[in-house]
Symmetry: C2
Subunit: 504 residues, 2 copies
């Protein structure tokens, strides 16, 4: 290998090592840290974040990129190099430019505000106390506006954060997709509302956490999520985190009166984890061993959660096992009734528990609030009121408290603005990928029904996972499906599935 | 505060932050890391260790110490400063000199060898496969000899490592204590062997881990170990680790056929944790918020484990609770029989499960092996054979495998040579501290029987814990007891207690 390229890999591998340390500090804070450890932890995370910033902004990286011929006109450097090297150089250059624009002091201030913000949010949610979280939200928003000002953006500060999660996205481009998507979702919800509601045979019953966990573990291991390279733990908000290429962990949460919330979180997070674990060996523990965008990441989690986990074929395989774990509660329930209940569409306030159809509207609500917060049209103090107003208008909900409203998600407490739209993009990608997968390996239903997930995971690894972040999301989509992202696939998927469930 | 002193505190607080990060990486590796995460973890730990080395060897520290007037002749700097500042300066100077002598590359090599050594040891112990561990032991020994050569020592390389754990200790000084101690212990064991053995009413019964854990948690919380500032988890070898002044964690292990092994590990480790948690507020999250030596640290763990946990008063309070958890197994057992069984002296191969009397001989065996390994009189390859020979000679044991012999302890796999003697010193300190405590607060038995541990913990905090590492072990001993360490207290304690248990 060229000397300069080798040196650049040393630099980016170091960055990856530090990102793994940071991930452990964050994971532990969420799942095992004693409450009073928070102040020292904030110091530890701030320090590591500072070192990450130093590592990714090391001027030597700029020098090496120059030596390798990477420039505005030619971001991948010399076109005669192998494609893998060109993709690597392009990615490093993009990341380097993104990072060198943010001053170290601001990165450290943000990191500390994130740690404190998360802890404050967890308390505020527990006590339904938005005012105690408000100063944290204000601080994080102000800091992220500063970050955007330093980082540069297409037209609006919010664009910077959207592009950060989905390369190329802007407020305008997302609005252009979400406008029609919102209308289509409302149209389908209208059709559903006109039909008889399906009954939920699990309603009112209690399902102890131990049984839920046992079932979740069966499913996640069948999916191919191996415990030699991962773990399942409990946290307030489920998440996936990558400590290393061979150490990708997930969490869930258990509610005794909600049988499937923990399962779908496990399947969702395991979908994220399989993506990170499926990156090509050659990219291991280097900067490209990551997902290519938040939207594509969400396509993986939501493919497993919805396309697989909420399919009739899935419940043909697993309902008997679930009945075996909860015989008193489910022994007399018919499989088909259970399947329909799993896909019951019922608008309710919590995004992560929303059905596939109304889910997109939860995301659009957050997108609209974020763009207003960034444009200055909305103040942090007005968020609870505005959230309730929009929940009423769009979802027909009368929210009783903020814990079920603007305090339900962890994202803003981590300063993660511009993240939510990815969830909706993920659904769109997932539907398009699933169609291409079926063309290549045949219908997935018989495989799922047989618990034979290897061909499914194999297609995802070959067409999505192995690239890591070496390709742009649009390139992954083009290579995997032969065309750009097209929301029509998702709408068609919803029409077909829910037409059948609700009989329209 | 003087500017230079303030700057020095900034430097040492940074070091403490990094040590906390390192502690988390190590803790996670032992308790939760997926098996295949080990290689990346070794990289992460090596990197953090390098940064710790940089932080504690920062030449600016040397310059500030000079500015503060610290020198060979006057290690605490200007004698007009408050005692706390002088102790701080003295400690920082000692640590700085110790650290600046070890080259960074060696520190990093050692750190990596430790990570890999620990993983290899865990496997080797599981499979009773010393040969697979031997190259790690050789490597760690060779590295620690190099460290000693760089660090400097009184007369022998082993002295360096002894002094590292107990400031001022040498091979000769330890041998001078262990010679007579070994004889006294053998003498008491001889008296015991001449009496009827006490029966173990728990022998042959199974005690599920969940019940053991529930009981251990009751005791540790009664002791004053709060879960807001700590946690209890499971690992192969029990340990305590400090992630921050308000985040000190312990581990234990459960064996269904050994009711009390998990309990005494919990009480032992909670004793260590209470020490770290009891350091004065003013020293919080700075370099003095630590124990003053391994020996004094062990005095805290062994005081709680033996003086408290193996006392008749303790079992007067807790035996009923334990019976309540295991009614079928213990319902018909008399409290006094149980108490005597807890103090049953029976030579067996595992150090951490040894009784109070033979325990010292396990330590002396390791001390003799370590001095031979360091002098070159013994090769790593010969360790299993020599261990068996000495176990036969001193303890009368015929060892069947190495898992019960030289593979039983984690220490060497971490490169921790010179550590074991601290365990025996801990017993000696504990006995001497307990006598002084009783003079100050009255007999502790009624307090223990009432579960009223606050006065006991209070005396330890005031006389031992609060100093952190601001005093030398000899100074702590002098201040707490009014005289230097004297092994007679421990021997007297054993004679009295075991004379009563065995009737001699």
């Amino acid at each position: 290998m060229e000397k300069a390229l080798e040196k650049l890999h040393e630099k980016t591998k170091l960055a990856k090592t530090l990102v793994g340390i940071d991930a452990l500090l964050g994971w532990d804070q969420e799942v095992y840290m004693p409450a009073k450890g928070i102040n020292a932890r904030a110091e530890q995370i701030a320090w590591v974040s500072g070192r990450i910033h130093e590592a990714v902004t090391d001027p030597e990286i700029g020098r090496l990129l120059e030596e390798l011929g990477a420039s505005e006109a030619n971001p991948s450097g010399d076109p005669s190099r192998p494609e893998a090297d060109r993709n690597y150089i392009r990615f490093v250059r993009r990341a380097y430019l993104q990072q060198t624009r943010i001053p170290l002091a601001l990165v450290e201030e943000l990191s500390k505000a994130q740690s404190l913000g998360q802890a404050a949010w967890a308390e505020a949610r527990k006590k339904d106390d938005f005012p105690s979280f408000k100063p944290h939200l204000e601080k994080l928003l102000a800091l992220q506006k500063k970050v955007a000002a330093h980082g540069g953006f297409e037209k609006k500060p919010y664009d910077y954060h959207l592009d950060n999660h989905e390369a190329g996205a802007t407020e305008a481009s997302i609005a252009a997709v979400f406008g029609p998507l919102g209308k289509d979702l409302k149209r389908i919800l209208g059709k559903i509302a006109a039909r008889h509601q399906v009954a939920d045979p699990a309603a009112g019953k209690k399902f102890p956490a131990a049984g839920q966990e046992a079932f979740g573990r069966i499913v996640m291991e069948d999916m191919g999520y191996e415990l030699e390279r991962g773990r399942l733990d409990v946290s307030t908000h489920p998440f996936t985190t990558t400590l290393a290429s061979d150490d990708v962990r997930i969490t869930t949460r258990y509610h005794e009166d909600n049988l499937l919330s923990s399962l779908f979180s496990i399947v969702h997070e395991a979908g994220h984890a399989l993506y990170e674990l499926g990156v090509d060996e050659a990219l291991k523990d280097d900067i490209l061993s990551d997902g290519c965008s938040m939207g594509v990441h969400e396509s993986q989690s939501r493919f497993w959660e919805n396309t697989v986990g909420r399919s009739r074929a899935f419940w043909k395989r697993y309902f008997g096992k679930l009945q075996g774990i909860f015989p008193a509660e489910l022994g007399k329930v018919a499989q088909e009734d259970f399947y329909r209940a799993v896909n019951r569409v019922e608008i309710q306030p919590i995004r992560v528990e929303a059905d596939e159809v109304s889910y997109g509207l939860h995301v659009i609500l957050r997108f609209e609030l974020e763009r207003a917060l960034f444009s200055g049209a909305l103040e942090a103090a007005a968020v609870p009121g505005e959230w309730r107003k929009m929940a009423k208008e769009w979802l027909g909900l009368d929210l009783k408290n903020d814990a079920m409203g603007c305090l339900q998600d962890i994202h803003w407490s981590m300063g993660a603005f511009g993240y939510f739209p990815s969830y909706a993009l993920g659904n769109l990608y997932a539907a398009q990928f699933a169609e291409s997968m079926a063309k290549a390996i045949g219908p997935i239903e018989p495989l799922v029904e047989a618990g034979n997930f290897a061909p499914v995971l194999g297609w995802l690894r070959t067409n999505i996972h192995r690239w890591g972040s070496s390709l742009l999301p649009s390139e992954v989509c083009e290579r995997a499906t032969g065309k750009p992202l097209d929301p029509a696939h998702f709408i068609a998927y919803l029409e077909k599935k829910y037409g059948e469930v609700y009989g329209f």
